[in-house]
Subunit: 314 residues, 2 copies
């Protein structure tokens, strides 16, 4: 059983040993919404019947392995392979919960997050995206070396020839958009967005040409001076922020051949925006199918030996 | 009478015709705190006695001339001299207010704000800082061509040889600091600041070497990974943001000689931070005395002929 347990949601999938999807369920019982450490009570309503029926091993990834989760699993340092993660799985016990009786205390295996950097130069960290990436690697072209996961905290991740995650960078693009469009002085001049690709592309073009530090205030002045209409300003801000992320990311990771597509993993709406913006930088991209995280959990479970007959018989 | 009427405060000064300060007062009746346009009721408690005693002309600058103010005064385009502003003053009538009777309806003269840019390339705007800058110019060395006003919305302003404000740029540094340190995912790992110059300087150094887009998340990871203590993180964030502003500003304005000091105008605490950061970039600065705004209002009043005897006799 594959569990993607993030900050705000938990998604579970029942897979056969070949990775075939038998069933899937989800709830809003994310790590940050669970009260007083009652993680078993949050998870078992989703899947106690599967546990009783199939006696499957449970493998989870995401914020469930963070300090706010069920147990803090130490980060693994980059470069890291799926085997490296499999060798350093965390472990927690899920107590039985009244009303969702399982036959015994369940062991929850937890994929560690990754870190990169050092005490001197600064760290970057992630939890959950490593598993998505190992799933996406299986589906992506072998030539792909750079992967982008747009989101609240966008991740740019590079893969080595040997299939290790070599390094990664976090960009707070989605969170900055939320903060600036809802709670800043820019919010005062904005109206709810009506998707305007042209305005979004104008923002990307300006971010490409300038520095974000002095571009953000343009959202306010564009409203004051009637350059854009109030309902266009969210897309202008979005274009500035995503354009700045892509500019910085391409400088940082310097993909050698812009015709080799960068796989994008994220919600359809967001990857669509990133695809438009990447095109302005002359960089090819390919939108990956969803559910890479379950494929990744399966790959790590296989590497950890969780799917061999002896384990499955337990 | 000189009035600096910003978003959150109003400060008034009674000046003689030579610019000597007779008295000054202030209140929290900023433009954004005045309800239902009752601007006269907010101002007169501070200064009705001066108006009755001296029959002085009233000249104000700042957000009072914005769309949220008493009357919207159109922006003047850069480059602009004090004379250009004086020729385009706005005008509003302050009705008499019960309890603070003045002998007649008072005329409030209002300094216009400035804009720079165009509909195609984007605009930048300011209100109030133009007056501070004309005041500071009088006190600064003639060789100074670039002035920096740190704040919620920091302004970098360049002066031409002829004494015009040539152009300017806004950086939302202070507002970003407030948003990120109070309402973002970074805030979760922070404790109240204990001023640490070393940590601040580390942030500046990293901003100097990298791109802000991928630096902000380091505040979170520095807390998670124990790189800095929670009470050091606000100064680390402050260093990253101020460092990024200075890096972008020096690239944009490219002062030709780093030994010519850039005058800094702002609160003592904030200009101190900027002075430390500028030193890391090898750029000389000089902290200007406060109250430049009143000197600026006097200069504009003189240019507008508000201080000649015929006007004063009205």
């Amino acid at each position: 059983m594959a569990i993607d347990w993030g900050s705000s949601n938990v998604r579970v999938a029942l897979l056969d040993a070949q990775g075939g999807l038998i069933d899937r369920r989800a709830s809003a019982a994310g790590v940050f919404t669970v009260q007083e450490g009652r993680f078993a009570a949050a998870l078992l309503p989703l899947c106690a019947d599967w546990i009783n029926q199939y006696a499957v091993p449970l493998l989870a990834c995401g914020m469930i392995g963070s300090r706010q989760g069920i147990v803090e699993v130490p980060y693994v340092a980059c470069p890291a392979s799926a085997g490296d993660l499999a060798r350093q799985l965390g472990m927690a016990e899920l107590p039985t919960v009244e009303g969702f009786a399982t036959e015994q205390v369940q062991q929850l295996h937890i994929v560690p997050g990754l870190n990169t950097g050092s005490q001197e130069t600064g760290w970057d960290v992630l939890r959950g995206e490593e598993t998505q990436l190992f799933g996406a690697m299986a589906a992506a072209d072998d030539a792909a070396r750079l992967f982008v996961l747009p989101g609240t905290h966008s991740k740019w991740m590079s893969r080595s020839e040997s299939g290790h995650i070599a390094s990664f960078q976090t960009y707070m693009t989605g969170e900055l958009f939320e903060l600036l469009s809802r709670q800043s002085s820019l919010a005062r001049v904005m109206a709810p967005a009506q998707w305007s690709p042209e305005v979004f592309q104008q923002g990307v073009a300006e971010a490409r040409a300038g520095a974000l530090e002095n571009l953000l205030f343009r959202v306010r002045t564009a409203g004051l001076m009637g350059r854009f209409q109030a309902h266009e300003l969210p897309d202008y801000l979005s274009g500035l922020l995503i354009g700045a992320e892509i500019k910085a990311g391409l400088q940082q990771f310097a993909p050698p051949d812009p015709t080799i597509p960068i796989p994008l993993l994220g919600s359809a709406q967001l990857t669509q925006r990133y695809a438009i913006a990447f095109a302005q930088f002359g960089q090819a991209v390919v939108e990956m199918p969803g559910d890479a995280v379950f494929t990744g959990l399966l790959a790590i479970a296989q590497a950890a030996g969780l799917l061999n007959p002896a384990t499955a018989a337990n």
